[in-house]
């Protein structure tokens, strides 16, 4: 395949890829179909000697039309001009593709392709667009390289591409070199891009990575003390292991499903923000390798779990009803008895611990207080309707016994309602709540229950809790993990995707009962077998890629940069500080030694400057020696041999400064002859010096005294009108 053909195809592919990027960024498949189709058609139409293309006038008219279209679109959406600009750029690219194939047009197409990708990057941070971008980069490098070759050839032919023969590297070696050059440039570019990306300063603006936050969020349900239902992000999770749990003693949990809690939230501050109860209290406890009692619970069947964390977590996953804990090293933990959760500082988090807990539901403290009311009337109406449909009274009975029965039945009714099929489970919330009618007006929980019944487990848990609280039932959201997958040794494998949220209801004094309103759309939550079909594997791979893209690439910010710096050079900050302090101490000692102001500092600076200057001079001399050795053919010779002809190097420098630099391919004697025509004195002196150099260089009989050499050097300098001494 010839270079022309590769350039032509790769250039078209590059433009097509950038249009594809715009289509993905704007989520407009029609653009891909229309723009991409036009570009492919343009390539076919303009190709070859019988190709047809737009005249300059028609092209200008089309550009004007595209500009008017862009302006009209901007006028329609003045708040978001990037989309119309991208559409205008796509139109411009299509027009350029329909124009005649000249190097100028090829260059403009390259620039337009870059512009399209830049605009797309401003619009979208989608992983799919990221993939397109990662494909676009090496292709753009290839096209740039080939463009240079084409441009060089066309320029050499006077700028005309007509009747140029096909360009093909001559021979296998040239083809191999070209391929190697392309590959090495791509590799070098990739290395430089990665290096610069990692070290380029971040944190210049607090909005860094805000685009990422708007687009996607990592799974946080497993380890967070807040719920935020307004992010509008897509939850992504992976198969990454979070922990391994082994049942040491006691009965298996019901159905073999293990629920581990990391947080509870019962207070709703509006706008989708759930927080722990204000009455919750964290108490610090010291724990070690022996059992430490956290709470005293009523007698009952207990079990012991050994939990091995794969990565440090801020909140340790623990089962409900925890009574005792022991960890692999002495550390301090935080214990909240009312919520039954254990916290740890991430830096000192234990990675292996054992807990002993009471089997069954979560025990509740007797003096529990909370905020169990929901003030939205529409939610209350919905709850009452559900209760009426279930044949239950809309208010709690007054007698405690009836009240407990009513709470149980009401909660079941709420769960039934949420699992009825009217509500849809999804992890992708980017389009949820985006409708203009409900975007800014409605509360997310109310929106989920009444207007847009789409959400993930947090929405279902929040909806259940809201319904329960609206009729006065004490309920709270619990976050944590639900694990059922086991390894060959029977240990539960807790993965990132096992993160879940459910609800707990105080069904009777001293007992929190768990209610999971999330429908079975979350397939792994309800004891089903793991799906190993191709679609499921592909979905998991996609999730992993997205997690890498959003987390490690898009989410790489100043904090991540600092963390990486600490990881690679753990002590760099310490070393830097130590070095700075050491320099300060030395400076103070010198000042004290001299005993007069900052004389010591000045002295140190002068010595440093002299050392630097001396080093520079030595380096320069070495360079000159090497250059002279190459000029007189004495590479590898001793210093003595070079010193004998060093005057010749100076003579060459004098000639250079005098504006008569000796061309490389001209012998000194021939150059002296040429100089003689205009400057006889100069030519004579140079000829004498050249002969002397030859005699010394080839070890011929030479008894010329150095004084005579100096005399001729002075004569040459005088004839050239330059002064000796500088760089001598």
């Amino acid at each position: 395949m010839t270079i022309d053909r590769v350039f032509s195809w790769s250039g078209a592919a590059l433009v097509l890829l950038s249009v594809l990027g715009v289509g993905v960024a704007l989520d407009a498949p029609w653009m891909l179909l229309a723009g991409g189709g036009m570009i492919v058609a343009a390539r076919l139409v303009t190709e070859g000697p019988r190709g047809r293309w737009l005249s300059r006038r028609v092209s200008l008219l089309c550009t004007l039309g595209a500009a008017l279209l862009g302006i009209a679109l901007i006028a329609q959406q003045p708040a978001d001009p990037l989309g119309p600009i991208a559409i205008f750029a796509v139109c411009l690219t299509v027009i350029k593709c329909l124009e005649r194939r000249t190097m100028e047009n090829e260059a403009e197409r390259l620039v337009l392709s870059f512009l399209l990708v830049a605009l797309s990057a401003m619009i979208s941070v989608e992983a799919l667009f990221g993939l397109i971008f990662l494909l676009w980069v090496p292709l753009a490098i290839l096209v740039l390289l080939l463009f240079q070759v084409q441009h060089g050839r066309t320029t050499a032919r006077g700028g005309s591409q007509d009747a140029l023969p096909r360009l093909r590297p001559a021979g296998r070696r040239a083809r191999k070199h070209l391929a190697m050059s392309v590959a090495s440039n791509i590799v070098l570019m990739a290395g430089l891009i990665i290096g610069l990306f990692l070290v380029l300063p971040r944190g210049l603006t607090p909005e860094l990575s805000s685009a990422v936050a708007a687009g996607v969020a990592r799974t946080s349900a497993g380890n967070s003390q807040r719920l935020d239902l307004v992010s509008g992000a897509r939850i992504i999770s992976t198969d990454t292991q979070v922990a391994r749990v082994e049942l040491r003693t006691g009965p298996e949990p019901l159905g073999g499903i293990l629920r581990l809690r990391t947080g509870t939230m019962s207070d709703y501050s509006g706008k989708g923000d759930w927080t722990p109860s204000w009455t919750s209290h964290l108490r610090e406890v010291s724990v070690g390798p022996s059992w430490t009692r956290l709470d005293t619970l009523p007698e009952g069947a207990s079990f012991t779990l050994e939990i091995e964390l794969m990565r440090p977590l801020e909140w340790l996953p623990v089962p409900p009803g925890i009574e005792q804990i022991k960890v692999d090293r002495f550390t301090r933990l935080q214990w909240d008895a009312s919520r039954g959760i254990v916290g740890a500082a991430s830096s000192a988090a234990p990675l292996r611990y054992e807990v002993q807990a009471i089997a069954g539901d979560m025990p509740a403290a007797s003096n529990i207080k909370g905020h169990w009311e929901w003030h939205d009337a529409s939610v209350l109406l919905l709850a009452r309707r559900i209760l009426e449909e279930a044949g239950l009274p809309i208010r709690a009975p007054s007698s405690p016994r009836s009240r407990l029965t009513w709470i149980d039945a009401a909660c079941d009714a709420f769960v039934e309602h949420l699992r009825s099929g009217r509500y849809q489970y999804t992890l992708d919330l980017r389009r949820v709540g985006q409708s203009d009618a409900i975007r800014y007006s409605t509360d997310p929980v109310t929106r989920f229950l009444l207007e847009e019944p789409v959400g993930h487990c947090e929405y279902f848990a929040a909806g259940f809790t809201a319904l329960a609280q609206s009729v006065g039932i004490p309920a709270r959201i619990v976050t944590g993990f639900v694990a059922f997958d086991r390894d060959v040794e029977g240990r539960w494998i807790v993965r990132d995707r096992d993160a879940h949220a459910w609800a707990e209801v105080l069904t009777e004094p001293g007992r929190w009962e768990a209610f999971d309103a999330t429908p079975s759309a979350g397939p792994l939550l309800h004891g089903q077998e793991a799906d190993y079909s191709f679609a499921a594997r592909w979905a998991r791979l996609r999730s992993a890629i997205e997690l890498w893209w959003y987390g490690d690439v898009m989410g790489y910010d100043a904090a991540a940069q600092r963390m990486m710096g600490d990881m690679i050079f753990p002590q760099w900050r310490v070393w830097l500080t130590d070095a700075w302090r050491w320099a300060g101490r030395q400076r103070e000692r010198l000042d004290l030694f001299f005993g007069f102001g900052i004389v010591g500092t000045v002295w140190a600076l002068v010595v440093a400057a002299l050392a630097l200057g001396g080093g520079f001079v030595l380096l320069r001399r070495r360079r000159r020696r090497r250059r002279l050795a190459a000029q007189v053919g004495l590479v590898g010779a001793g210093r003595g041999a070079l010193a004998a002809v060093s005057f010749y190097g100076e003579a060459l420098r004098l000639l250079e400064r005098g504006g008569h630099a000796k061309p490389e391919a001209t012998t000194p004697l021939a150059w002296a002859e040429e100089l003689r025509v205009d400057r006889p004195a100069c030519g004579d002196a140079l000829a004498w010096l050249a002969r002397c150099m030859y005699r010394r260089r080839f070890s011929l009989h030479d008894n010329t005294p150095d004084a005579q050499v100096e005399l001729h050097m002075n004569e040459l300098a005088r004839a050239l009108g330059v002064r000796r001494g500088r760089g001598r």
Binding site: A121, G159, H177, E207, S209, G555
Partner: protein, 368 residues
Amino acid sequence: MLASKASAVRPSLAFILALMLVLPPAFLRGNNLLVLMLVMVLAAAVLGLIMPGLSLSGVRVRRQLPRHGRVGEPMRIRYQVSRDRGHFWPAFSVGIDEHLDGVEVDITQSAWLLHVASGDTVHGDLLFVPKTRGRLVLDRITAGTSFPFGLHRAKRRFGPRREVVVHPRTRPVPASLLRAARGAGLDGPRSSRARGQGDEWHGTRPARPGERLRDIAWRVSAHRDELVALERTCPRPPRMMVVLDLTRETASLDEADLEVARQLEEAAIECAASLLMEGHQSGDEVGLRVLGMEAAAHDPRRGSLHVDRMMTTLALLDLDAHRASPRMDCGDRSGVIVVQPDRIRPLAAMPGALHLSARTWRSRMETP
């Protein structure tokens, strides 16, 4: 020189525009994708600044010059580009520019090489058409490449300075003109003193096997009792002397416009060159006299080198130089053609000469 004419593409400008486009949003929008684009531009800039210089290290360029050029005819200068061993990066898209001086030229193709690897020797050609006669000065060679990204063009200069003489343009001369010029000489066909295949008797020699019967000198053979063959002289071609009359200064020609007058003088030189070339190609002995200028006189002779010398004399005529009084010695056995720039002024010293004016010549050449 050619590059600036040929292309309006400015990669460095495109890079700066790309940088300006991406730099502010990369930091202001907090979008790592834009940061990636920014670092891509920066990485391309870094490589684009370093790699061309690396590619050109160890490259040497030498010229292979033609003996001379001619106005209006394509001229080729070949460059031998070699690269020392031990350089890892092969050089791609190496353009070779030549700083040409002294003569107006129209460059049709500058030398360009796709690939120069370590230890290789490749050749590139510079093709151009000289537009004026004179001394073409090849001042310095510049080899350059902007591969891979075109941001920076690394250049290396090579010498030495060389000169090539560009001969005047020659055009086909009507055969009738040459015939007329031959007839203007004092004698017709002549014989030389050398042996040859002519008709005149030159001498005798012992006959060799295979000798033609008509070449045997029968009487002498009978007399000597051995076969003796006749030797004949070589026929001598007609002689033609071209006299270029430049005795009048440009300003004193019969032409008000100085530029047109200079064009007439150039046309006279072209006419003389054409006559010389046509005479040489017809087998005549041709010679040249330039009246009014310090130029070498060439007696009628044959041979390519002789013609080259005359063409060089014509090529190097400096029309701005002082015009001297003419010396009228052009031999008495030649057909003489006197070429004058503006109009015919018969020379008294050459009564039988054929006179031509450059004006007539030009109008004749312009007539299709």
